[in-house]
């Protein structure tokens, strides 16, 4: 039993690291260069701008870019991860070994998280360097915003894996992107539904509110830039919300994946 446990952990770890290696060797992290170039360009343009606004704009742009580049990676890598293994049949020798299908999915998921962590760390390093150049200090508020960006990306990656466990990359890409966009609007839609007067619209928007991830909960960018007070309870509950959402989505993915025949 103990040996089985260890083998399981070792397998998940191996699959995660292999996924990360794939991202690195297939040059996924090259988009970091775009991030760096973009940030440099923004800061060069800002040299012409008025003092005072400058720090704010650097922060706005930096956080938005970290978020956007992260989302792109989470979706692009997430939707192809599982599909590629099936399509290229690299999964065949793997599943004939003592690896549970749930472990496979979990390993894949950890691999993409690892990729996202490294990506975010590198972008943040560059970002903080720029902020430090402009402001001469370290703004810890930004760190909280970035942490929450990571939580958002983790949710999106789980959604991408879920879709890719049963559909093609193009379709899963569209689905995941829709979830990303609508996920930022659910509470807005709920308010809209409540004030629309139509019972059907109200129920539908409520349904979306509870089923789709409420991604706006992870958006603390304005709080960070304007140093608005952040309630610690809200922060912790938001993280817990993200974790639970990820677990649910991954379990659905496991359900879809568990009984699947491979070509």
């Amino acid at each position: 039993m103990m040996r089985g446990m260890n083998a399981g952990v070792s397998a998940i770890k191996a699959i995660a690291i292999n996924t990360f290696k794939e991202a690195v060797r297939n040059k996924i992290l090259y988009n970091l260069i775009f991030f760096a170039v973009l940030m440099m360009a923004v800061s060069l343009v800002l040299d012409q701008a008025t003092i005072g606004q400058r720090n704010k704009i650097i922060k706005d742009f930096g956080l938005a870019s970290i978020n956007l580049f992260g989302v792109i990676i989470a979706i692009v890598v997430g939707i192809s991860l599982v599909y590629k293994e099936i399509e290229k049949r690299t999964i065949h020798p793997l599943l004939a070994k003592p690896v549970r299908r749930s472990s496979f999915l979990f390993g894949k998921y950890l691999g993409i998280l690892l990729t996202l962590v490294i990506e975010i760390l590198l972008m943040s390093f560059f970002f903080f360097l720029l902020v430090w150049l402009y402001e001469g200090g370290f703004d810890s508020y930004l760190l909280i915003a970035i942490l929450m960006i990571f939580v958002e990306l983790s949710v999106i990656a789980a959604v991408a894996i879920f879709f890719s466990s049963f559909s093609t990359p193009v379709l899963s890409g569209m689905f995941t992107f829709s979830v990303y966009v609508i996920g930022h609007l659910t509470s807005f839609l709920k308010d809209f539904g409540a004030s629309s007067g139509s019972a059907i619209i109200k129920q539908f928007t409520h349904f979306l509110y509870y089923v789709l991830p409420n991604l706006e909960r992870f958006n603390l960018k304005t709080h960070a830039v304007y140093h608005l007070p952040i309630e610690i309870g809200q922060l912790l509950f938001s993280i817990l919300y993200g974790l639970l959402y990820i677990m649910i989505v991954m379990l659905f993915a496991v359900l879809c994946f568990e009984r699947r025949d491979f070509k």
Binding site: D60, L228, F237, Y241, E258
Partner: protein
């Protein structure tokens, strides 16, 4: 994993997720307001990636819910002006926000200055509409009793097509208040000529009468 275990876990986790959603909803008032810390329209415009119209519609719906919740609640509207100006930055041809801003900001939120800024943008976008200058004039007069600043706007409104008769006579009334009797007289006479409404004609006649008698008094006083 066994299917039964997975489904059981799913049910438990979903219940927990629902509970947390509810819990987080209690923090909501902060969250809704924070949505309004949007950058100014100047930055939002390029960031909307070509979807300005849709974005402004969404912000408009947001405005209504924001207004509604505060109307029922504290009656304070600190973000109303900001969000309205975002909407018109994104979509200057969207006319309803001008009316809404011009009237609600002034009467309900007691922010006449901001109301007039919105209306001034309205005039830029729709110079042919008489309502916007009329509201500006109205705001000046109603809030401050400042007839001198109100008069030119009402005058402008009166000259635009579609403005009702009472606006023209209102111009006269305002100029009268300021003491510019000659100008007032000119407007009253014009209005008198143009209107076919007996009641208004009657009222204008009284006003003209008043100016004329005042002038006589003035003359004899000398």
């Amino acid at each position: 994993m066994k299917k039964r275990t997975v489904i059981l876990l799913l049910i438990l986790l979903s219940a927990a997720l629902w509970g947390i959603q509810k819990k987080l909803d209690q923090y909501k008032s902060v969250e809704v307001e924070s949505l309004l810390y949007l950058p100014s329209g100047e930055y939002l415009q390029p960031l909307s990636l070509g979807y300005q119209l849709m974005l402004s519609d969404m912000l408009w719906i947001k405005t209504i819910t924001y207004f509604g919740s505060h109307f029922m609640g504290d009656g304070e509207y600190p973000w109303l002006y900001h969000i309205l100006s975002l909407i018109i930055d994104l979509d200057p041809r969207f006319d309803f926000p001008y009316y809404f801003g011009g009237v609600v900001l002034s009467l309900e939120a007691a922010q006449a200055e901001n109301a007039n800024k919105i209306l001034a943008r309205g005039i830029e976008a729709y110079p042919e509409k008489w309502e916007y200058p009329f509201y500006i004039g109205f705001n000046h007069y109603y809030h401050r009793g400042d007839a001198a600043r109100a008069a030119p706007y009402i005058e402008r409104a009166a000259k635009l097509p579609g403005s009702p008769e009472f606006v023209k006579s209102l111009v006269g009334t305002l100029y009268m208040k300021v003491g510019a009797d000659e100008t007032a007289l000119k407007f009253f006479r014009e209005a008198h000529q143009n209107t076919s409404d007996a009641l208004i004609k009657k009222k204008i006649e009284i006003k003209i009468e008043e100016i004329l008698s005042r002038r006589e008094q003035h003359d004899t006083g000398h």
